[in-house]
């Protein structure tokens, strides 16, 4: 089902969604846009290129409290913090970021231990994908085309949106999206010409240019395996790296976390907090030994995990080319250039 809404009236759509549950959409903050809970329908603003942080926090929050306990009390006295989630609408997610949810599903929702928190959030959430504006050029940092992702790929979304002049065209991709659009009776259905425009837009999105190179997963995996012990190469590409955690925190596919117990005056919380392989203490063992003491080892781990180990283990590259790591790196380290250099090395 295709719906057509004037962008001026986006707040009406926002209000309708808020009436059904929780709405998460890009909101303008001081330093740029970020996904946030919408309290006032007028806050929704689609005039963004992409958000600073990736939308992964919608399913995998930076901190998640699991258990409350009191020290000195038996374990039975501890209480598990359950989740009670309203239907959630994640609105305005760019196609490359939508792809990242599928990659993250491999770890949290596909095999082995299923993460109940991730799973429940995924189940209650309807994803509104939003195509990049094909009229405007891509940002220099982006390279999703390299990874075979188009600027207007609807896969992975429940409802997919594109811009047509001053209007927004919304099409359902999944049965969940179809049902939701059918329920939004106040909004007009698109015409046949709109459908044609929509289909062509999706097709054109495949040709949208970002930085790109020919990248065979098998070839890059092999190349990085061969380069693994080439210390000079890794020292070279990491010589500027400060070893902070920005790249991993803004990354849509970084999923490492730490479980911590925080106790204050006998009251404790066991929680999960994002961790970053770029931190010195990430691999610090209880014995005091640290297998990754150098910056180059940590950067090598990050790059190889995404482009080599992940391919070996799960068959896909764990990167969607959104370019956030490059854009927010304080010293302009560019993962695309590292991969390019690796292929040439």
């Amino acid at each position: 089902m295709l719906k057509k809404i004037s962008i001026n009236k986006i707040s009406e759509l926002a209000a309708a969604l808020m009436g059904k549950g929780l709405l998460l959409a890009p909101v303008k903050e001081n330093s740029g846009y970020n996904f946030a809970e919408i309290k006032n329908p007028n806050q929704v603003d689609l005039d963004f290129h992409n958000t600073i942080a990736s939308p992964k926090a919608a399913f995998f929050p930076h901190k998640e409290d699991f258990i409350k306990y009191e020290t000195g009390k038996p374990i039975g006295a501890a209480s598990v913090i359950g989740l009670s989630l309203p239907p959630t609408f994640l609105f305005g997610v760019r196609p490359c970021d939508v792809k990242s949810f599928g990659i993250m599903d491999i770890h949290f929702n596909a095999s082995g231990i299923i993460d109940p928190y991730w799973k429940q959030r995924r189940e209650v959430t309807t994803i509104f994908g939003y195509a990049f504006d094909l009229e405007k050029p891509a940002e220099t940092e982006e390279f999703y085309q390299t990874l075979g992702i188009g600027a207007a790929d609807p896969e992975g979304s429940d409802v997919f949106m594109i811009k047509k002049g001053d209007d927004l065209l919304l099409d359902s991709v999944t049965a969940k999206g179809e049902k939701l659009l059918a329920e939004l009776k106040n909004f007009a259905e698109g015409k046949v010409t709109d459908k044609k425009y929509y289909d062509e837009y999706i097709k054109k999105g495949r040709e949208y240019k970002t930085r790109s190179m020919c990248l065979e997963p098998e070839a890059i995996t092999k190349k990085l395996e061969d380069l693994f012990h080439n210390t000079d190469f890794w020292m070279g590409v990491s010589s500027a790296c400060l070893s902070c955690g920005i790249c991993t925190f803004v990354c849509p596919t970084c999923y490492c976390f730490d479980i911590c117990d925080d106790t204050l005056f006998g009251q404790g919380t066991r929680r999960r907090v994002w961790d970053a392989c770029m931190f010195t203490d990430f691999t610090l063992e209880a014995s005091g030994h640290n297998p990754r003491t150098h910056v180059y080892q940590r950067l090598r781990q990050k790059v190889c995990h995404k482009y080599s180990f992940h391919v070996r283990k799960y068959g896909v590259i764990s990167c969607v080319g959104c370019g956030r790591c490059t854009k927010h790196c304080p010293v302009n380290i560019d993962i695309y250039s590292i991969i390019e250099d690796a292929m040439k090395a």
Binding site: S31, C260, V331
Partner: protein, 287 residues
């Protein structure tokens, strides 16, 4: 002021000469990043590397941050703008590096820009001095005169706030913190190993990005830099959520200067104010 292109040429020339003569094993300066606008810190080790060196208005990086990665005794040439040179002076005072191991390639410059916002940083987020206080070779003409704007002028709005307003201001700013630790990693003075925030026995603050832990981290870091911060503004530039860390550092630096008549990293023979004691020292801090 010598233009940036000329400084770049001089930098290349000196770097090449020093590397070829074997006077240094590495030149810490700036290289080209993934495009023209995005330069990055770069360590040139061969004369072929020298061709990759650049200098433009976006080269804000404080190369003093990288000095301690090299073993003591390594002969290093380092490109240093005013604040970077102050950082080197401070590190020498703190005995983290040795003066005789360094050849400082001073860069007299103003009008540096933040690549994210394209705003001129000068005395807003950095110390705004034109000339490096310590150098071996100056890569351009010394800029005459004093900066028109004091580095503390940007504090006017902050200082007009009362105690409660300041507390509310910082609480709000710290709530934005995502604990990526880019501020401490970009800071040339943050070299503690391990940093208190990474310690687990005892754990000084929780790991989650929330208020008590964020507060503990930033306030401790702020105070640990009292009298040591050389006002390069790198912490604020590195911050992905734009916390104006420079305000606190500038405020403390201003108070130190008023109380002890000394700014950090200006003179090699000075001692950092908090390790120096003089009978005539101000007692204002105790009041």
């Amino acid at each position: 002021m010598t233009d940036f292109k000329q400084i770049e040429n001089n930098l290349k020339k000196e770097a090449k000469r020093l590397l070829e003569a074997g006077e240094v094993t590495v030149v810490l300066a700036y290289g080209r990043g993934y495009d023209e606008k995005h330069s990055m810190p770069f360590a040139a080790k061969t004369s072929a590397d020298v061709e990759k060196l650049v200098f433009n208005e976006y080269c804000n990086f404080n190369m003093a941050r990288y000095l301690m990665r090299y073993p003591c005794g390594t002969k290093i040439a380092i490109a240093a703008k005013a604040a970077d040179s102050r950082a080197i002076v401070q590190l020498i005072q703190e005995e983290k590096v040795r003066r005789e191991d360094l050849i400082i390639l001073g860069i007299p410059a103003y009008g540096m820009k933040n690549q994210k916002t394209d705003e001129v940083v000068d005395s807003k987020t950095t110390c705004g001095l034109y000339n490096p206080p310590l150098y071996n070779i100056l890569l351009g003409e010394e800029v005459h005169g004093q900066p028109v704007v004091s580095p503390y002028e940007v504090l006017a709005e902050y200082e007009a706030m009362d105690k409660e307003a300041r507390w509310a201001f910082w609480k709000k700013e710290f709530d934005k913190c995502i604990r990526c630790y880019a501020c401490r990693k970009a800071c040339p003075m943050c070299y503690c190993d391990p940093c208190f925030i990474d310690q687990s026995k005892p754990r000084w603050a929780d790991k989650a990005p929330q208020s008590p832990g964020n507060m503990m981290y930033h306030l401790t870091r702020f105070h640990h830099l009292a009298g040591r911060c050389i006002d390069c503004g790198e912490c604020s530039r590195a911050c992905p959520v734009d916390i104006p860390l420079y305000l606190f550092h500038k405020k403390v630096a201003k108070e130190c200067e008023e109380m002890f008549g000394q700014a950090a990293g200006m003179k090699l023979e000075d001692k950092p104010v908090l390790v120096d004691f003089r009978v005539e020292d101000s007692d204002k801090i105790l009041e």
